[in-house]
Amino acid sequence: MSDAHHGFNLREWIFTTDHKRIGILYLIGALSAFAIAGTFAIMIRMQQYGPGMQVFDSGSGYNTALYFHGAAMILVFLIPALTGFFANYFLPLMIGAKDVAFPRINAFSVWLFYAAIILALVSLVIPDPPDVMWTGYPPYSVTTEGNTAFYVFTVHLLGFSSILGAINFLVTVIYMRAPGMGWNQLNMFVWTILAAFILQLIFIPVLASAVTMLLFDKYLGTHFFDPAMGGDVLLYQNLFWFYSHPAVYVILLPAIGILFDVIATMGKNRIFNYKVCVYAGIGGVLALAGEVWIHHLYVAGVPDWIRVGMMITTLLISVPIGLMLMSLWGTLYKASITFNVAMHYASACLFLLLIGGLTGIPLAMTVMTANLGQTSFVHAHFHFVMALFSTFAIISGIYYWFPKMTGRLAEGKLAVVAFWFNIIGVNITFWPLFIIGVQGMPRRYFSYEQFPQFAPYHHVATYGSFLVALGMVLTLINWIKSAFWGVKSEANPWHSKSLEWTHTPNPPGPGNFPHDVTVSADWTPYDYVK
């Protein structure tokens, strides 16, 4: 055990360079963003309750809500929670490292993240808030009265934060693994984080340049996206989705990685097809991630040969993801499962990913997207993958590692009740959107007077979202309650074989490991079945 200072020291937290504390800072920021952006989600749902104005005074108020909900959920909640919080706290522990390679750069990353949060919050209270959704498409983003600059700078700050994080974690995994730890002995979570950061490193710069050109167009009078002056309006969409489609895998992969660790530990089982999953599954996603973005531009007027080519790659990328999903199911085969709260959420994820993935296949096809692309079918599809699957994986991971971070358990009736609110609520919210999407309910519109027949479905969806809100509030209450007054946990409550459970106290002190860690050649973190 460490003889670290006991009690709370604000200075030690703000100026910390310790990866665990930085992880907690990421978690606080990400969950705050989740709460605020979630509130906007409820407002958006209430606005959609019936045709006409419900909660917003004007369309632009609704646009600002869409902007903040989308940008904050993806850029400030999902990506930082997965590649900021989980990676920071658990990756060094999993590989037996005392910290990341560059602790000060790590602190730099987390405060860039907070600077972005501050900017995003400021952009809500200024008289001309950004109203460009999370995509910022020109020409609207260039001609709007809204403050597009704050959108651009939020992206810059978060992007720079992620690029530095990528450097940090790539170097950490390559050079700071415990002596004896080979590549096939890594936790699945470590692999997925590695892959996510490779994607961040390569693709974020492209988004950064796209929004920079947007900034120049709006404020310096250049014409990057103005066809009348020799620019190209589709250029922005290409650059934007060149990053933002891989961003989906930046979120999806670590979420899958968490599930592997939860399911293998709770099932006391090996990873089914570990090597296939790593090299074909994760490797396949890495290889294809940058060659599918045109499926966001099917109806934007791109040549057929690109559309058909990218349709094939888009369909193809479901193969490596399918491999990983099969490995997840296979890990359950002959497992002796402890069905705790983390496992509740993990099993829900298997279902949510299946629905989200299967509804993506029609959207990959150009003929289907021509009809479905601008409807709430898309809306429901990506919420199943991004919002529901990834968020449930995050919640599952927090429950799983809760004793590691706090020394206490967050199990109990409240957690399970909240789980059922959540899983029932999300299904009630998003299934109606699939149905009316197929019938032609347009997405993004602030009102739908032309389609009064869809109102009953929107009623149901809105009530479902209230259920989710209740479930999330209960989950948050449960975490806060358990962190301070929960049942004390034993050192390794799930009897895991992974280093973060076997070699460190709960929570780990400075320097993580009381003794230097080495692993033997036949050790793996999933060493349950011999």
Partner: protein, 262 residues
Amino acid sequence: MTAHSTTAHGTPIEHQGHGHHWETSIAPFAVVFGVFFLLPLTFSMHFVYHNTILTAVFAGIGLPLILFGVAKWIDEGLTQKPLVAGLAGVGMPIFIVSEIFIFLSFFATYWMVRLSTYSWPPEHTPEMPVLLPLFMTFLLITSSVTVHIAEEKLEHGDLAAFRKWLVITVLFGLAFLSCTTFEYHHLLEHDFLPSTNAFSMIFFSITGFHASHVFLGLSIFIAILLPALGGRVNKTFVLCGSIYWHFVDVVWIFVVSQIYFW
């Protein structure tokens, strides 16, 4: 209890992460909020809200914060020992991968814009200089050689020669930036502004972005040079600065060939 050891010169070196106390550093926090004030807020105050006073205030907060943070960071980097030595020499090339993709997206934009028009250069483009970019290429390539010599001198323990060759490198870099300034001044006088036409926006964004990299490279060298005057040098830091400088040099070859001689 903090683990201590000493260098050959007898100055105490702290080991990061080995100790039993929580590591802290004020430097990253200061730099982040310095950057936050200096870039997003100052830009917005000037270009979005046209508020001169707040522009000056925010810049006035941001710049000192950055300078303080960077100085503190360098000081810590020179006195503390990392968990694993020399990893920054790997981190820098990884950073350069992402830099390459920023340049690639600007070049891709250029190619897309240029290849989809019928006549190039577009109207209102003045005659572009030919000799100046060649001279600038000479300056940068020479500076890459001189920084390499500086590194060699440091490797042989000749600190005085290291400082001399580093100063020479900085002078070459400054000469390069002076050429850029001269050229921009000349073009702006001929009403060739970023907003003039499709070529001007490409020209100013790519050369400007490259020049900002030259500026950053020079700042790194100055950050190495100042402590080196007092005899404090971190070889990994020098290696990183030099890798970055070579990268800036290589990118310039692409800039010159694509912008001036195509």
